[in-house]
């Protein structure tokens, strides 16, 4: 079906473009396949079943496994999937090839080199510093160099998308940019601003200390720079899921996009509000005045506003689709949604879990309330609802049409693929609930609780639920991995008249009716940078002018 207002045929991705996107997905899924093996090991360890001695080829310690789990899942699976997916969306959305394909290729291969460079020291147990690598705990220099290459590679892929967008602009004056392409480029622009923090941390503080050029690091300044990036990182994970919920999912359920203008507004608000609020990860830090923490708490509540808008708009477009499918009454439209479609069900369940994740996020951000849960198991309980549910489950859902689109092959066992969503969802409800509860009871995160001497009896009833739920989650994701793998390697091909299309939804209102100010970069970019300068400038100035490089490195 062609939803274009023009009569020109849709320009699908060329073979080589599909191959380029596909190789992103291969690396992403490979990283996830390794990363999640440690999940049930951690969860079962909490439940009293210590698999580490038996599986010592996987990790020599709980912490080495946890480093792999965090880096491969939260950093590699996400970044590779997102850059691949957004590249596809930009090409397909703009109906034109990349302006400088070599630039995107350069960025991608830089990410691959970075991934390998980071992985070697982690696997050699020379970088067991977890994915937050707080100094003065010190890893092999390769670990940091690799991470910088991954980040800079993702910037370069972002520039490639930006130049393509700009070229389209020149070719199509007076036309509103397609929402999906604009949203992709906004996401990459937000990522560019946000990652300046961690890049500075590694290049200006950590590496000079690791190489012995300075006497050590300033751990507090490092934390501040890390969390400058650390929070917007979660929007980098979630925005591509939002993009899918806004513009792809409605088409998949047979409806339309509820509002092109509001969707744009939401993405611009994320560009503006994602970064200037990192102190909400540092409420319990010394060295930062409480007043600044409070300001960042207010800004964090402000950034929940575009998410609340998303909640409404996405549900509204799903309802529109459900009613068009014949759903009646207050809730009948929900039943009418195509729950048997694996791509749809993974994304719908992702959205449901994200409601809980969002509520938890507002609780975390609530300044002094944070004292009740900072660094407890509540936190991993929370972000398995966000990055491991909202983002990961959406990416799984997207993969279920994207892989057939890229390969021209039918999805292997769609019923099994759809069942995986319910399995993962059920496991997640049990796992994440138990993690939240023991967190409130005081259980620390990043701790093999089986070794801890301070665990009271009362926790036992929750600890086994972590092991149980975690194992079920693992089954759900293994189904995804196997289905994807078999789909990609099978011989069977889709007949020419059944080829999968990119499901881009039409807007209920004509996008050309979207006000121009929602299609202009300058005001939003300037506001974004201004807010970062206002919210971070004074504290960064203070911390940088008073820097003390007094912490020499320690190996774990």
């Amino acid at each position: 079906m062609i939803e274009d207002r023009t009569t020109q045929p849709v320009r699908e991705l060329t073979k080589s473009e599909k191959r380029f996107v596909g190789i992103h997905i291969i690396f992403a899924v490979a990283a996830l396949s390794i990363g999640i093996q440690y999940g049930p090991m951690q969860a079962l360890e909490h439940a009293g079943l210590d698999l580490y001695p038996k599986l010592s080829f996987l990790a020599s310690s709980y912490y080495q496994g946890l480093t792999l789990h965090g880096v491969l899942n939260a950093l590699i699976w996400t970044t590779f999937f997102i850059t691949g997916f957004l590249t596809m969306v930009v090409i397909r959305g703009l109906q034109r090839p990349l302006k400088y394909p070599w630039l995107n290729r350069l960025g991608f291969w830089m990410m691959v080199v970075g991934l390998v460079t980071t992985a070697i020291p982690i696997l050699a147990d020379k970088a067991t510093v977890l994915y937050t690598f707080y100094p003065p705990m010190e890893a092999s220099s390769l670990f940091y160099i690799g991470l910088v290459l991954v980040v800079v590679g993702s910037w370069i892929e972002g520039y490639g998308m930006y130049f393509t967008f700009y070229a389209w602009r020149k070719e199509n004056p007076g036309t509103r940019s397609p929402f999906v392409a604009l949203a992709s480029v906004i996401t990459m622009a937000m990522w560019q601003i946000a990652t300046l923090g961690v890049a500075t941390e590694i290049l200006a503080i950590i590496l000079p200390s690791v190489f012995g050029w300075t006497s050590g690091t300033d751990p507090q300044l490092s934390r501040t720079l890390f969390w400058f990036t650390g929070h917007p990182l979660v929007y980098f994970w979630v925005l591509p899921a939002y993009l899918s919920w806004y513009a792809f999912l409605p088409k998949q359920v047979g409806g339309k996009m509820f509002s092109d203008s509001l969707a744009r507004l939401v993405f611009w608000l994320f560009l503006v509000l994602s970064t200037p609020l990192g102190f909400h990860h540092q409420f319990t830090d010394p060295g930062i005045p409480a007043g600044w923490k409070f300001i960042h708490a207010l800004l964090t509540l402000a950034v929940s506003f575009p998410s609340l808008l998303t909640l409404f708009t996405v549900i509204a477009s799903l309802e529109y689709g459900g009613r068009k499918r014949g759903g009646k009454g207050l809730f009948g439209w929900i039943k009418a949604l195509p729950w048997s479609n694996p791509s749809v069900v993974w994304q719908l369940l992702a959205g449901i879990l994200f409601v809980f994740g969002g509520i938890g996020g507002i609780i975390n951000a609530s300044y002094n309330v944070n004292l009740a849960l900072h660094n407890t198991s509540w936190i991993p309980g929370h972000f398995h609802l966000t990055v491991a549910s909202a983002a990961t489950m959406s990416f799984v859902g997207i993969s279920f049409w994207l892989v057939p689109y890229l390969t021209g092959k039918p999805l292997w066992k769609p019923k099994l693929a759809a069942a995986g969503a319910w399995i993962y969802f059920g496991g997640m409800l049990i796992f994440s609930n138990a993690m939240h509860v023991i967190g409130l009871l005081g259980a620390p995160r990043r701790t093999p609780l089986g070794l801890a001497p301070y665990i009271p009896e009362e926790w036992a009833g929750h600890l086994w639920r972590i092991g149980f739920g975690g194992t079920i989650m693992w089954i759900g994701l293994m189904i995804f991995i196997i289905v994807t793998l078999v789909t990609a390697v099978q011989r069977k091909r889709l007949p020419a008249d059944e080829l999968v299309e990119v499901p881009i939804a039409e807007s209920i209102r004509d996008p050309q009716a979207t006000p121009v100010w929602l299609d202009r970069w300058r005001p939003w970019l300037i506001t974004a940078i201004l807010l970062v300068v206002l919210s971070y400038g004074p504290q960064l100035y203070e911390q940088i002018t008073q820097v003390q490089l007094t912490s020499p490195g320690f190996s774990p």
């Binding site: 707080y134 540092q282 010394p286 509540l301 506003f305 808008l309 002094n368 900072h374």
Partner: protein, 165 residues
Amino acid sequence: MSGDADQHIHIDPYERNWIRIAIGFLVFFVVMILVAGLALGIQVPTDEGRVDPNTLDQDSRFGNPGLREIVPGEEYEVYIVAHRFSFTPREITVPKGAKVTFWATSGDVQHGFALEGTNVNMMLVPGQVSKLSATFDTPGQYDFICHEYCGLGHAVMFGTVTVES
């Protein structure tokens, strides 16, 4: 096709109501935080100045960690130094009803300090001084636990406050 003249964003009436509700929610949260902070006095750590992590033993406060009585039976201060993988002191005993201010720092890597049953939860960052207080109205044992990964022995790092009746 409508033209560019219309610069107003079209918002559905239901959505307009939802926007009002959403803003109402957020204002309510801010008020609750202010009540907890100002009326109930629940404060987060703030900037308490610096200390050299390499010469803690010569520091006037952390060179001699332990409990200090300010007002007998009522007000206490305790200076705690975290090193891999233990706190000094590990055991602290105070009378029931005591208000205890915890001053803590780290002599090596980052650690955490979360005291069971209270709002004392803070990061211990080398070079920085962390401070929070709690009042103990119920006798018993309260563990303080290191909740930041600090190395291979992290899981055994904790201490205890004993509140006597």
